[in-house]
Point group: C2
Chain length 224, copies 2
Amino acid sequence: MEEAVLRQLFERHFPAWAHMSEDDRAALIRNTAPVSYKKGVCVHGAESECIGILLIRKGMLRTYLLSEEGREVTLFRLREGDLCILSASCVMEAITFDVHVDAEEDTDALLINASFFSQLTERNIYVECSAYKTTVERFSDVMWAMQQILFMSMDKRLAVFLWDELSKTQGNTVRLTHEQIARYIGSAREVVSRMLKYFASEGIVELSRGGIRILDKGKLRGFI
Amino acid sequence: MEEAVLRQLFERHFPAWAHMSEDDRAALIRNTAPVSYKKGVCVHGAESECIGILLIRKGMLRTYLLSEEGREVTLFRLREGDLCILSASCVMEAITFDVHVDAEEDTDALLINASFFSQLTERNIYVECSAYKTTVERFSDVMWAMQQILFMSMDKRLAVFLWDELSKTQGNTVRLTHEQIARYIGSAREVVSRMLKYFASEGIVELSRGGIRILDKGKLRGFI
């Protein structure tokens, strides 16, 4: 990738760029490599070595917890322009947990290698600060997810999820499988299917192979 | 409180102290007041104004989520020497959630007022960085709690909790009510009581008014 393109991307999405010396900028560019992940691929596993910081250029990553029994709970998703810090948790002293990260779509990203990033945070407080600040933003996402999972009844959770998806896509159809939805909202496929059938019987949604079409937004809103 | 005492406390427990100017140190001391909370008192509520940063001198604070129906889920506890940052969430841009904080025991603390702290983080990157780093440490605590709540079966959760309490107190007795334990592990009192009765029937614990005496550590360990 051309250096000018990298510089532009860092300037826009790497918060401490303005506070870095020209030497450190050059070193950052040398220690960054383009990576691509096919949809569904594991980007970072709880037991795998930590790869480094990812700056997403295209696509989407999903961060989740995985239980010993294989149950997944989605924490948050990252999109274009977002930094994935938890894939470098090994070099961040204050992060003592580990998560899984999958490519939710075909994803292109820039990978800053972990040991270089670690050195950079040690010599530049602005880099360290922005890494922790970004992590705290993800903490906020996790707290939101946790409240959904712990406190909301299933109908409300599903309604909130469909509502959020609608506002993202600006259409009437949510193109996800019941399995995918179950993962997003930390539930089981059977539970989601049952609740969707109930929503269909109430005339709120129409279920088809292509996804879930929302027929009555007002009624859906009523569950939230 | 004497200035020399305050200086000593900040030097030991306020990570950015070494990176502050003498002027800022003096201002920090002027903007700090001793506070005391009786056991059971609410220190910070989700709807209340945010009070500022607390440096705990004695006692214990409990941070928890509260559902609309009144269900509590404990996230972490803070002890002597710990900084409570989430009680100043309003001045931390990256924190978009809110939690409840109660005094778990009679607690003495130093309160750094929120608006001064906000100004200080703006002009001193080390203060900002340490505040975010401390928040990320709490993120780690929350992730631990979340995995317990989401993935562990009740018997395991209770056994882990009793085991942790034992190792803290160095005795054989956990002096907490079933209600308190339920709060800590994010469950209901009835569920805890039922499981404790089961543990008692297995000869693992002995229940009395004063608390829960562990009779068989080996068996308890077997649940973990």
